[in-house]
């Protein structure tokens, strides 16, 4: 094998000379470096357009690899096989293959050959993307870059292909890396040829991210929900762009020419479902979000995951979409001191535990996936992590399939890639042994028939005993060496019976050079004795230098060693704790949502129905099939009913919080002032301990709201606190759509260059948008009548505004001062709609009669105030006065902690002089009415949802706490279960921390 060295070096320079004219003028250092790994280059058999310059390279490119175990495809291994490559393509593979007469023969006894790996989500060639696009028919939004194509953007300089090859990859799908719509992916061969000869598939999928790239600016959208809104709008726009241009081409006369937009044009086949949409999902929630978008638009989705997929096995198994997995595992959480361990939460510890188990969990659940190098800090971690995954239970055949046959078929290149069969591209990995179950090194990777050396099989190891003879006999003796790390040695030299420790010693693999220094004092010399040599087989041809003596030749002959290196076994601490998958994957998470008993009967309680029945003492509540059937006395328990004796206890409807911001990925879209198209429902997440704590305080329903940065903010989301369900299932079925408006200080102070900066401007921009919406609606109505010319564009922002004007979306407006409250009511009246409720309304009491007259409700704090100037005139009597003035009034928390004790918020109103039932209505039925869900929740009346709380006393007493919280007739919180869960949490944390310590020791 060594003999090949001299040939390849020459060939390499010649070939590059031809393809890169610049090389003629001198040595290009980069290509020179490249040449080291590119040990052998065959002639270019493929048809090329490039003219030959200089000497034509016709080095034969026929190879026969013999004697290895060839894994032709997952689960199919042929021992002692021969694999023949001709002109970059496999000609034959098998045990009884004849070696062609023109082939170069490569002895590979003991080696294992795999099909070359395919990286299904790579940044190869994409390291230095164009940031600011300046030319052409660009989209208005810099995050929309769908027109960029990996095949055109591929930069071969430092493209990362060498690192990928070092991990066994021979093919990669490159994904444009920045923006929201990032561009079109392409599949490349990881050879060292010009890009024209690397392209395997120029057009594969359109890539989209649910995150944005800050390098492209900070404008709209800058929130998770804004990004989804923009994706949604862009998909509509792409469809419109297609139809508008069709209409215009059909008959352009008299028509206004539609916008020409490269990004939208590039998305045409994706919105028609013809080209896949590849979603980059950075966590499990983003997968769910991606799937929802795909469903909504009938897209063909591919998902690039994050390693958190074990949390949604059920969904992935049901959806069965192409899944691309990264193999990036988190570092162990810091548990160095007991105090730092105290601060590690269970979701972090659990993810550390489960991340390497993720592929095995998916495979066990029957979910197919391909691997990628995405998410790795360093590509060179890939193999190590792959082996970890295998060691933690992933079947090695599946692992190989996820790197070969599966990606090949996903990318549509299975005819040429993914397995070692005659006729396929000669892409292969030569390893010392089993790549998956041992630490076997990759020796060579072959790409399109070109061999790239990854690790030298003939690495110099000087370990052992050597006999030394020198010209003058000064240093005749023996040398004993032990390799301490590759190419470094410790040991002794024994001369004239003196055993001397060597000072330093090293060897170089490719140069075959050896060096050793040892102190000469014991032999009677001053200073160091210094020996160097060139190695040839077991012989050393050396010269030496001794201070004061001079320089002379010496020779060495191996007497023994080195010992054959065993391939190291993968050494991984087993992760075999008895830890269940939980939803959410954190403290107090559940293995499943609670069971729904056929019926529930709560007996002998003081029941606050909050309906016409009032408060009943010694009464019963019957819930059947999740709905309230009856409240009354001495009710009969249906068969199989869960019967709860609640003597001495109080029962109320589940509490409702009208204004909450927890459990969502971001609450403000500040990029534009008017953004009713963004939806909180798009970005719910369940990794939210507050939900559990809120349940513990009797909260069953919440209105999750957009922030207050925008005069017209996004659409809010009603949720039920179904702890243990996926985010989609938290949504309150049948709730009306609502939108957040905001007035006053917050909208003014967002930025120096965003309109508005005054309360005056706040009114004007709202009025302006309402007029735009009216015009938009009119334009559509005209179109619907004659359907001629270019169809109007569907504008989700305008559609939301139209819905607001039509009261199909209810307005819930953040407000503080009386002037702004009055302003918005009058503005709404001008446009003939009503404001459903003013939130915070610190000065709402000052305009109570006007609110009552307009029909707006008030959703206020119990006692917040004075934290800013517009909150200075607060009063704890706000709710009471509003209530007395006939304004429908509710309390709200606007705070994750306070949401966990809304009963006490209501109780404060009793101190302010309200009747207890009126006070409780502020967090139950009134709240339900102002949120438009009083047909389902807010009171204990027949037909409503079985949402109730059992309290250990008067819910408005300072001494009371919730004992059980039920939603839809299912028990989501129980004080006794909570006590058991605390112990379980403690136990699991402790076990995980111990495992980290064990792994680190």
């Amino acid at each position: 094998m060594i003999s090949n060295l001299n040939i390849s070096f020459q060939d390499m320079t010649k070939r590059n000379d031809k393809s890169k004219p610049v090389f003629k003028t001198g040595v290009n250092p980069y290509l020179f470096l490249l040449a080291f790994c590119f040990l052998f280059a065959g002639p270019l058999a493929a048809q090329q357009t490039a003219q030959t310059d200089g000497m034509k390279d016709n080095t034969p490119s026929v190879h026969a690899l013999t004697g290895a175990t060839v894994v032709t495809a997952p689960g199919q291994a042929i021992s002692n096989a021969t694999l023949v490559i001709r002109d970059g393509v496999i000609e034959a593979v098998g045990r009884n293959v004849n070696i062609p007469a023109d082939a170069r023969v490569w002895e590979m006894n003991g080696k294992t050959i795999y099909p070359g790996f395919i990286d299904t989500y790579s940044n190869a060639g994409m390291q230095d993307p164009q940031i600011e696009l300046e030319r052409g028919d660009l989209s208005w939004n810099p995050q929309l870059r769908a027109q960029l194509r990996a095949v055109s953007e591929y930069s071969p300089d430092e493209d990362g292909s060498e690192n990928l090859r070092s991990q066994g990859f021979t093919t990669a799908m490159s994904v444009p890396p920045i923006g929201i719509f990032r561009g079109e992916t392409a599949v490349f061969s990881l050879n060292a040829k010009p890009v024209t000869e690397r392209v395997v598939q120029p057009s594969v999928a359109q890539s989209v991210s649910l995150g944005r790239s800050f390098e492209l600016g900070f404008g709209y959208p800058n929130s998770a929900m804004g990004i989804i809104a923009l994706i949604r709008q862009t998909l509509y726009d792409a469809d419109w762009h297609l139809r508008a241009h069709q209409a215009y081409r059909t008959n352009p006369e008299g028509l206004e020419r539609p916008e020409s937009n490269a990004a939208l044009a590039a998305l045409e086949s994706t919105v028609q479902g013809e080209q896949p949409m590849l979603f980059e999902a950075r966590n499990e929630e983003e997968i769910l979000r991606s799937l929802r978008i795909a469903d909504e638009f009938g897209l063909d989705p591919w998902i690039r995951g994050s390693g958190h997929e074990y949390q949604i096995l059920d969904i992935l198994s049901e959806k069965n979409v192409p899944l691309i997995l990264p193999l990036a595992f988190p570092d162990a959480p810091d548990v160095e001191s007991p105090e730092s361990a105290l601060n590690q939460n269970l979701s972090t510890l659990r993810h550390w535990y489960f991340a390497p188990l993720n592929p095995a969990k998916l495979d066990d659940a029957g979910i197919s996936f391909s691997f990628s190098t995405a998410g790795l800090d360093n590509t060179s971690q890939f193999l190590a992590n792959l082996r970890k995954a295998v060691k933690h239970g992933l079947d090695s055949e599946t692992a190989l399939a996820a790197l070969t046959t599966r990606p090949a078929s996903l990318l549509g290149i299975e005819a040429t890639h993914g397995s070692l069969q005659a006729g396929k591209a000669a892409n292969l990995v030569v390893a010392e042994g089993d790549l998956f179950e041992s630490e076997a090194r990759i020796l060579d990777v072959w790409v399109d028939g070109d061999r790239f050396q990854v690790n030298s099989p003939t690495e110099v190891d000087m370990s052992g005993e050597w006999e030394i003879t020198s010209a003058g006999g000064n240093i005749d003796g023996t040398l004993n060496l032990n390799e301490t790390r590759p190419g470094r040695y410790a040991g002794t030299v024994t001369i004239d019976g003196e055993e001397i420790d060597i000072a330093s010693s090293s060897s170089r693999d490719q140069a075959r050079r050896f060096r050793v220094d040892f102190p000469g004092e014991e032999l009677g010399y001053d200073g160091m004795v210094r020996l160097t040599a060139s190695l040839s087989g077991d012989e050393l041809i050396g010269w030496a230098e001794i201070h004061g003596v001079g320089r002379f030749d010496w020779s060495g002959q191996r007497v023994s060693g080195p010992e054959e290196d065993e391939i190291r076994q993968v050494n991984v601490t087993p992760r075999d704790l008895d830890i269940a998958l939980l939803r959410p994957s954190m403290e107090y998470g559940r293995t499943a949502v609670p069971e729904e008993p056929r019926a529930v009967l709560v007996r002998n309680a003081t029941i606050w129905t909050m309906g016409p029945q009032g408060v009943l003492d010694g009464a019963d509540l019957l819930v059947r099939d999740g709905l309230i059937e009856e409240v009354g006395f001495d009710l009969r328990a249906p068969r199989n009913a869960v019967v709860i004796d609640a003597e001495g206890k109080h029962v109320t409807p589940g509490l409702i919080d009208a204004h909450l911001h927890s459990g969502v990925s971001g609450v403000n879209e500040v990029g534009n002032a008017i953004v009713p198209e963004v939806r909180l429902g798009d970005v719910l997440h369940i990794n939210n301990i507050w939900m559990y704590r809120q349940l513990a305080g009797g909260l069953t329903t919440a209105h999750v709201m957009h922030g207050s940065a925008n005069p017209i903010g996004g659409q809010n989301q009603h949720i039920k606190m179904r702890w243990g369900a996926i985010s989609d299932d938290l949504k309150f079925e049948g709730a009306p759509r609502t939108v957040k408006f905001a007035l006053g200080e917050n909208v003014k102070r967002v930025g120096t260059d965003r309109y508005p900066e005054t309360r005056m401007g706040t009114r004007e921009i709202m009025a302006d948008r309402f007029r735009m919406a009216r015009d938009y609606q009119a334009r559509w109505q005209e179109w619907e009548q004659n359907r001629e010319g270019i169809p109007p564009r569907k504008d989700l922002r305008m559609e939301a505004l139209v819905d607001i004007l039509n009261e199909d979306i209810l307005v819930q407006s953040h407000s503080y001062r009386q002037d702004e409250i009055l302003m918005l009511m009058r503005l709404a009246e001008e446009f003939d709609f009503r404001i459903k409720a003013f939130h915070h309304g610190v000065e709402a009491y000052k305009v109570a009669p006007e609110l009552a007259e307009h029909g707006a409700g008030a959703v206020v704090w119990s006692d917040w105030g004075a934290f800013k100037i517009e909150a200075y005139d607060n009063t704890v009597y706000n709710a009471r006065l509003l209530h007395e003035a006939g304004v429908k009034t509710s309390l709200h928390s606007d705070n994750s902690q306070i949401a966990a004790r809304m009963n006490w918020e209501a109780a404060k109103m009793v101190r302010a002089g309200m009747d207890p039932e009126d006070a409780l209505s502020l967090v139950t039925i009134n709240t339900a009415e102002l949120l438009g869900i009083d047909d389902k929740v807010g009171s204990l009346e027949p037909g409503k949802d079985g949402d109730f709380v059992i309290w250990n006393g008067d819910p408005l007493s300072t001494l009371t706490k919730a004992e059980q919280t039920w939603i839809d007739g299912r028990k989501y919180f129980d004080l006794e279960e909570d006590a058991a869960l605390r112990d379980a949490v403690e136990h699991e944390r402790s076990e995980l921390i111990q495992l980290i310590l064990k792994e680190q020791s």
């Binding site: 105090e339 105290l342 601060n343 939460n345 269970l346 979701s347 954190m586 403290e587 301990i689 507050w690 559990y692 704590r693 513990a696 305080g697 009491y845 000052k846 109570a848 009669p849 006692d863 105030g865 004075a866 934290f867 800013k868 100037i869 909150a871 200075y872 005139d873 607060n874 009063t875 704890v876 009597y877 009471r880 006065l881 007395e884 003035a885 994750s896 902690q897 966990a900 004790r901 006490w904 109780a907 404060k908 009793v910 101190r911 302010a912 002089g913 309200m914 207890p916 408005l956 007493s957 300072t958 001494l959 009371t960 706490k961 909570d978 605390r982 949490v985 403690e986 944390r989």
Partner: protein, 457 residues
Amino acid sequence: MKFHTNITTGKAMNRQAEKFYQMAAGMTRTLLWSFLGFSIILLSSDLLKAQMQIPAPEQDSPIALQGGTIHTISGGVIENGTVLFEDGVITAVGVNIEIPEGANVVDVNGKEIYPGLIDAYNQMGLYEIGAVNMTLDLNEQGLVNPNVMPEVAFNPESRHIGVARSNGVLVTVSSPAGGLVSGQSSALMMEGWSWEEMLIKSGTGLLVNWPSPGNEDDYEEGLQMLRNTFDAARAYKTARKAMDEGEAPRHDLDTRWESMIPVFEGERPVVVNANDLRQIQDAITWSEEEGLRLIILGGRDAHLVASHLVRNEIPVIVTSVLTSPSRSWEPYDGRYNLPAKLHDAGVTFAIAGGSSAAYANRLPYEAGAAAAYGLDYDEALRSVTLSPAEILGFDDRVGSIQAGKDATLMITTGNPLEYSTRIEQAFIQGRKVDMIDAHRFFYEKYREKVNQRAESR
């Protein structure tokens, strides 16, 4: 400010009020607190007075509250008892008390009497509107300000005083904030024309913000600065003493270190704001090393080192009971039951509010939550009355109903920690407090608007 402008329009408004409140004419006016809920009917002159919130004059004749249930805190509960106070000081508590001639006897039969609540840590008087910097006097320049005293910046006109008072908080310990050594805290009563009149005790503690252990290097640096500060102050004290005793030449005065001498002499405790386990542990060892009287403020993780707190007799001022645990694995009631855990372990503690002056009125609810989650109801009450006074060294003045103490107490319809209870009348140093506050003023004013609209229909 609206308060002032309203005075000019008061007349017109009061005419309307008079009209509306005619129906109240027959009602008893002598005992304002005898009405249901908040339907205390205000006469026009009361409304005008309400706007002004005039501090009451000093007590000029003995007052006897007779027939109520007296919760003395220090001496049990006295049914059907009498509290007698003269010149602002309680002179007798019990049954069969001899009532002096000329005493104003108030029948409080069916009512309860409690000492005023004490907020052991607050920014009352120093904080008006959070986001309006010029209304805040909290953080002095620099990291080390042991000499600053809150009373001199205490604004008796602050709206928050009346609001907290109406909820039974009659004494505040106001404190500066920020830096490493924030300054001193002082106890003030919630009634008076000026801070001078209101002051109960100046310098109840020296506030230290224990460095955050989040980053180990920063923690080291912060602790080094803290140690250097105390070393410098101690060296100053030694130098001045040597000078005074003629053993050393002149050493010029240093305002900062001079103010710390009482700390080294054990007269003034160091109140260390520490929540994290490490902070509390390290503050304990530090106070031992330095020989200081330590009080832990905050104390989120105090239950984890309870035995050390007990052994070293270090009290804790718990801030924010009504909050959630900082670590997601901790039980949902981990903060609600912190006082109970401390009490069970034998730690001396007080409960304070969440520090914002605007929310000092929530103090009874903070203690109430502790009672819901395992703390004995009487202990909860003690933790906002006598315990803070004892911990901060002004229990000779307030904290319980006991002869010789200030007549700082209140007549209520029940336990002041219970939401349904109303604080009907407070006396501070014997002065009968005007129970109107900014919140109620706004209610009354805009209730009038509602009435006018109803009438014009």
